[in-house]
């Protein structure tokens, strides 16, 4: 239906024009290049390019982490790429001393890390010294001598008495001096005779005592502390200065990014060369282009050289053409949903148009609130205007924008305005007259409506399958399989509705469904060899009706999701109303709850509405007729990390 016709081509040109032609093809995004190299003369991308890319990337990450501007919340989801003209980009990179900048960046990063480590180290030493500040002896003198051992450390204050007692018992000539006391701990200097060393050491290591080693120095703890304070101050100034120069270097950030993208482009060009075939003077590119683009491609190539040959060739035996979809602009966004399942195969058809109405309607039903819908539409339009989104994102947000409008309409019809009902709003009379159903009060009707939509879509799916069979001239299957099933399912629905309304037509419906069932029983086993097997498999095939029943019930989610958005919205309003009376902060609290609550509900509602509407298309609808399995058309084009060419 709307799959683009593809042509495999072979391009032969002179080796000297290669660079220019690659550039041209990359810019025009016109051809998907397949591998036509003989395989033995593989050129590999220079490893140095890869290293260089990695180096620039790490420098960019480092400089970005120093930038004081925080990304907006939205940007953390959609990293915005800078728009820049190619000439501008080249000019910026020209004469830019990339290596020097990288070196500088690396140096600064190292220096910063060293300083940070030093700072932590000094801080640690200071912390250890402070409790012993009162010791008025140079630190290097607090050391074991020939006859005595001196140890510094701390112990929990409540364990101190027991500890001293035990040590005194063990080594009578020992001495414990408390130097200072912090919250729960006492800092001690312990001295004992060297001859008691082994047993004292054993005792100390088993007790709750914790030894502390002071930094080595000839100064007293107090002097050392003063000294450390000076060093720390110096380190901090140094740190601040380095930060400043790092920030200055941050001005080169843009150029680094440009450089990265430029190198990336070169890498792609050299990567793609590996797929080329070659003779001594020429090179050969094979690939797929859209049939309609043939002349355009020739015209483009003429810009680079006149010495080329563009041949239409036959694909290899097992080669399948890549698939590109084309739809009228208004319906193109729905391709996103088809792509989610997977591209159709080349000789299948594109179901995007067929699902468009169902999807957008289901989305609206699931979100189903006037205000939420409008907010979603406005937000999507804003995003598309503000950020240069890739094609896929553009399509997705178009879908959401339209879906929001449908949701707003559904919201009016079901009387849901930010969770409020028309009765709670001004202009009640007008809004109530627009409301045709209240799903919260009357869920059964809404459920019936949801299931009816399901029946419609499932039968539609079967019709499509029937049409496909007719197209492939498989009339027997078309009539006996799809035709009979459609007939039987419709008659069953007819029967269910008629008996639910106790209509006199129920009898007729019953006869019709009996007829349908018998017809299926007689025909579904027709491919089996024996009469017995025909009968059994005909009977078993009727069991498929449970599958259709399950599919139909699956559409009940339309009701459940629509109601949940509305009711949660209403709950948020009730909660907000409850806190309104809080003295002082009541109104502020109410506004806070309203904003956060509704925002949350909106995000959750949109997510749920999208996922479940997609699911109904992919599982319940596509299951009836669609196969997929095609390769998406991916033309050779510029891929950049930070920039978009104007």
């Amino acid at each position: 239906m709307s799959i683009v016709a593809m042509q495999k081509v072979q391009l032969v040109a002179l080796a000297e024009d290669q660079a220019e032609i690659i550039k041209l093809l990359q810019e025009s995004e016109i051809i998907e290049i397949t591998d036509s190299s003989s395989g033995d003369n593989k050129l590999t991308t220079a490893a140095s390019v890869e290293t260089q890319l990695a180096e620039i990337k790490s420098a960019v990450d480092f400089l970005t982490s120093l930038e004081s501007v925080k990304k907006s919340f939205i940007e953390s989801f959609l990293p915005a790429k800078e728009e820049i003209g190619e000439a501008e980009l080249m000019a910026a990179c020209h004469g830019f001393e990339c290596q020097a900048t990288l070196k500088k960046c690396e140096d600064i990063e190292d220096h910063l890390n060293n300083l940070k480590n030093l700072k932590t180290q000094i801080q640690g030493e200071k912390d250890r010294l402070i409790p012993f500040e009162k010791l008025n002896v140079p630190i290097n003198l607090i050391a074991p001598s020939l006859k005595t051992v001196i140890i510094l450390g701390k112990i929990k204050t409540k364990q101190l008495a027991g500890f001293s007692e035990q040590l005194a018992k063990l080594s009578p000539a020992s001495d414990i001096q408390a130097v200072s006391q912090a919250k729960e701990e006492t800092y001690l200097v312990i001295a004992y005779l060297a001859k008691d060393k082994t047993k004292s050491q054993d005792f100390l290591s088993q007790s709750a005592f914790e030894a502390i080693a002071l930094p080595e120095s000839v100064r007293t703890p107090k002097q050392e502390l003063a000294h450390l304070k000076n060093v720390l101050k110096k380190t901090e100034t140094d740190l601040a200065e380095t930060m400043k120069s790092a920030k200055e270097l941050g001005r080169q950030l843009n150029k680094l990014k440009y450089m990265y993208d430029l190198l990336l482009e070169e890498k792609q060009q050299s990567d793609i060369r590996q797929k080329f075939g070659a003779t001594s003077r020429t090179f050969i590119i094979e690939g797929w282009i859209k049939k309609a683009d043939l002349t355009k491609t020739k015209n483009q190539l003429t810009k680079a050289t006149s010495a080329f040959l563009l041949l239409e060739i036959e694909p290899n035996e097992n080669e399948k053409p890549p698939v590109a979809l084309t739809n009228p602009k208004a319906l193109a966004p729905f391709e996103v949903i088809t792509q989610l399942y997977g591209s159709p195969s080349y000789n299948e058809f594109d179901p995007s148009i067929l699902l468009s109405f169902f999807f957008i309607f289901f989305f609206g039903l699931c979100l189903g609130d006037f205000v939420y819908g409008l907010v979603l539409t406005v937000f999507s339009l804003y995003l598309m205007k503000r950020y240069k989104l890739p094609v896929g994102g553009q399509k997705l947000f178009t879908l959401l924008a339209v879906g929001g409008l449908v949701a707003a309409v559904v919201g009016v019809l079901t009387g849901s305005y930010l969770g409020f009902t028309p009765a709670e709003l001004p202009a009640t009379a007008l809004l109530s007259s627009l409301q045709i159903i209240d799903p919260v009060k009357d869920p059964l009707t809404m459920l019936a409506f949801s299931l009816a939509l399901g029946v419609v879509q499932i039968l539609f799916g079967l019709f499509i399958h029937l049409a496909l069979l007719v197209k492939s001239k498989n009339y027997v299957s078309a009539i006996l399989d799809d035709g009979l099933w459609i007939f039987w399912l419709s008659s069953l629905v007819f029967l269910a509705v008629a008996s639910a309304l106790s209509s006199p037509l129920a009898g007729l419906a019953g006869k019709l469904s009996l007829f349908g069932g018998i017809a299926l029983f007689l025909t579904q086993g027709r491919s089996e060899p024996t009469l017995l097997k025909k009968g059994i498999s005909g009977l078993l095939s009727l069991y498929k009706v449970s599958g259709y029943l399950g599919d139909t019930l699956s559409y009940s989610r339309l009701l459940a999701l629509g109601m949940s958005t509305t009711i949660i919205g209403a709950v948020i309003n009730i909660l907000a109303n409850m806190v309104k009376g809080t003295p002082g902060i009541g109104v502020a609290l109410m506004v806070l709850i309203l904003i956060i609550g509704h925002l949350f509900n909106l995000i959750l509602g949109v997510l749920g509405a999208f996922i479940h509407s997609v699911r109904l298309q992919l599982v319940e609808f596509f299951g009836k007729f669609y196969e997929g399995g095609g390769q998406q058309f991916r033309p050779f084009k510029r891929m950049a990390e930070y920039t978009v060419l104007k």
């Binding site: 959609l78 792509q339 869920p443 009940s556 459940a560 949940s564 709950v571 959750l604 997510l607 479940h612």
Partner: protein
């Protein structure tokens, strides 16, 4: 007649409690996987956040079911008194959303964690990765639906 109201509130508690636990558990499973992936690639936060939020819906369905029962008995607007049998009916009506919500929440969390690994390796396939856990959620939706229909049908 207070026992009737107590039973109905028991139903509210079951709906909110179990479905909420299931969601919390499921999000934790998905969150552990997401945190692991983020250590390698913090840029994926946006995508993974969506995956982590997926098992969160059960908690809302439970809350919704509970709230529906509260509205039914008029609990927030000055409770009407209801008979013990009516209360018991509402209690039973709460079971589908509570219990299915709990179990499907946990399992949706597992499916979401698996999808998170899929995104880690093939970020282009995020769309498909989102659909997989959503398949599990279907049954929570059905549970909610059953609860809502049952509550609607109860006569006060």
């Amino acid at each position: 007649m207070e026992i009737g109201l107590a039973l109905a509130l028991g139903g509210v508690a079951i709906a909110v409690l179990f479905a909420g636990m299931g969601s919390a558990w499921g999000i934790a499973i998905a969150g552990e996987a997401a945190a692991g992936v983020l250590t390698e690639d913090p840029e994926k936060f946006g995508k993974l956040l969506v995956m982590m939020a997926l098992p969160g819906t059960q908690g809302f369905y439970g809350f919704l079911g509970g709230f529906y029962i509260m509205m039914k008995v008029g609990f927030l607007t000055g409770a009407t008194s209801i008979g013990p049998m009516t209360g018991l009916q509402l209690l039973f009506a709460a079971l589908p959303v509570g219990i299915v919500g709990c179990i499907s929440g946990i399992f949706q969390g597992k499916a979401a964690a698996a999808s998170i690994y899929l995104i880690a390796k093939r970020p282009d396939e995020t769309g498909k990765a989102i659909i997989i856990p959503a398949m599990v959620e279907t049954y929570a939706v059905l549970g909610l639906l059953a609860t809502i229909l049952m509550v609607t049908g109860v006569k006060i």
